[in-house]
Symmetry: C2
Subunit: 332 residues, 2 copies
């Protein structure tokens, strides 16, 4: 009896904010495995802001998803059939099978994990978002003890790790998030020193009050006016790891950086990066993150949607900031 | 008989482009030397774009020149009297005496030079502008053999060295300058591979044609639309040492950076710097530059004004880009 695989494919490219019409559900039997191939049942799918960029035709980090293709995405699951000697049935694996219930692979890009932590964690704090936080903060932000680190989207999968890594380095960690619930979570559950609600009418004043010694590292996930506010608080020799611009992903006009001269006279380093540029740093980052999560030094929260058909709605919610912590779709 | 010292002092702060009314000439006898002091007759005064920033009250790199104070500036000259055992009459010295004919110092910040090269060179290619080029290009720009380096204000004191340093590193060096005379000088006399006239109506197309493999390092001296054009040509992992924004120094409204998203998806590093941040690098930079100038590997040109009273007009000319190479005021 053939296994039926439900997939979400890109049906059309969005103009502005995406909607359900941009996706198409398809069901097809899983093909027979060839020699060297592995069949994985995906248990969890990761939803991340970068996916919005891949829906555009325009040049972004990487090639766009082609019309009609399965939406890309990180997945974690279990090997349920194998014609590849490197993988056995029952192995827990992380891969990039995208928005579908099953995936077939020749083993390339498939990584076995020990499974000591819940599988979803390998898509979050001990996965791509965690490594993004680690590389962006430690390698580009280079925070020193006693400095102030500000991170936007602080309740998200990356931002929540950034602030905790900053605390581990002896820094003051200040988050920016949308709404009281998220800000409370960031301070109470994650241990940030402060969190400022960017929706507040006195946001700029509150940010100033939360950063009495200015800002040394601005880990930027959001862009737009929130970024402007943090940049204006930057100290001389401040660093800006530019990780994301989620406020801009659905914008049809680019948002400019208002004050280039300040970058000069404050001698700011602003550097765009993506985590796949630095594959050499992944092993160390994953080892550290895995240990710190196991020791409870890094905590995480997940917002969980159920079933592959729920992925588009969960994705829209994440782009609107409705998730707290990592947005996951549970498939099993 | 007292020596009379002619000085140019800041009389008022400019709104927009400065004019003669912002300066005041003063003549006063040189004071009697105290123990430990040195009297220097300045032979040459350096005029540089950063001085415009110091005329403003607004925060810049450093403290502004106070109203009524002598305008700041690098000088080179000769010790003509000394009550400091570290300096003898006849010593050639580089200092920061500003816009005046004589200076008294306790020796701090005064640096003896061997005088093998003309004194003005220690204010140019083997001085602050040369070290600025060296640190900005080599330490922040990190050019690799075969890469393309673009530098704006290419006929200026810093830009002219940047392109030649790029050639020494095995790069393609492309200058941007205003007018055919400067562009010809940059290519024929300095050995750049190409130079594009930013005043040309087809500037953007010409820049594109001059950088067929894109741009890896944009050494930025100018800002504004010229910078936009180069940024749009940047390759993935491009570096932007942000050295100056001379097009903006007289602007009353800041000019924004139009496309922050491109910095992210191209993973650009944009870093503001000033040469005094890295004093530890000066000895190596000066040793290299001095050798390369002596060997003819780095060439330079000077635009020379005569007499301290001519400094303001020469300064206005430099801000308008009328100089070719280093703008010097000869005082002796």
């Amino acid at each position: 009896m053939a296994v039926i695989n439900t997939q979400i494919r890109l049906a059309s490219r969005p103009a502005g904010f995406p909607d359900a019409s941009n996706f198409r559900i398809e069901r097809a039997p899983v093909p027979e495995l060839k020699d060297g191939e592995v069949l994985v049942q995906n248990h969890v799918l990761s939803l991340d802001p970068y996916m919005r960029g891949r829906m555009n035709e325009a040049r972004s980090y990487a090639a766009p998803v082609a019309l009609g293709d399965v939406m890309i995405g990180g997945t974690a699951g279990e090997v349920i059939a194998s014609k590849n000697p490197a993988f056995a049935v029952g192995d827990k694996v992380v891969g990039s099978f995208g928005w579908q219930e099953y995936g077939v692979s020749d083993g390339q890009g498939l990584k076995k994990v020990d499974g000591k932590l819940p599988l979803s964690v390998y898509l979050g704090a001990v996965g791509m978002p965690g490594v993004t936080a680690y590389i962006g903060l430690y390698d580009i932000g280079e925070p020193k003890e006693g400095e102030t680190v500000v991170v936007s989207a602080a309740a998200g999968a990356v931002g929540s790790v950034v602030g905790q890594l900053a605390k581990l380095r002896g820094c003051r960690a200040v988050g920016i998030a949308g709404g009281k619930e998220k800000c409370d979570y960031v301070v109470r559950d994650l241990g940030f020193d402060a969190c400022v609600d960017y929706r507040s009418s006195s946001f700029v004043d509150e940010l100033r009050a939360a950063t009495p010694n200015g800002v040394d590292v601005n880990f930027e996930n959001v862009g737009g006016p929130v970024m402007d506010a943090v940049l204006s608080q930057l100290n001389t020799f401040g660093r800006v790891p530019l990780c994301g611009l989620v406020s801009q992903y659905n914008a049809t006009e680019p948002y400019p950086l208002p004050n280039v001269a300040a970058l000069l006279w404050k001698r700011i380093k602003l550097q765009g990066f993506i985590v796949s540029d630095r594959m050499d740093r992944w092993p160390q980052a994953l080892a550290d993150l895995s240990a710190w999560v196991a020791e409870g030094k890094i905590r995480y929260h997940e917002t969980i949607a159920h079933g592959i058909e729920g992925a588009p709605e969960a994705f829209f919610g994440m782009l609107r900031g409705k998730n707290l912590g990592k947005q996951i779709v549970k498939l099993v």
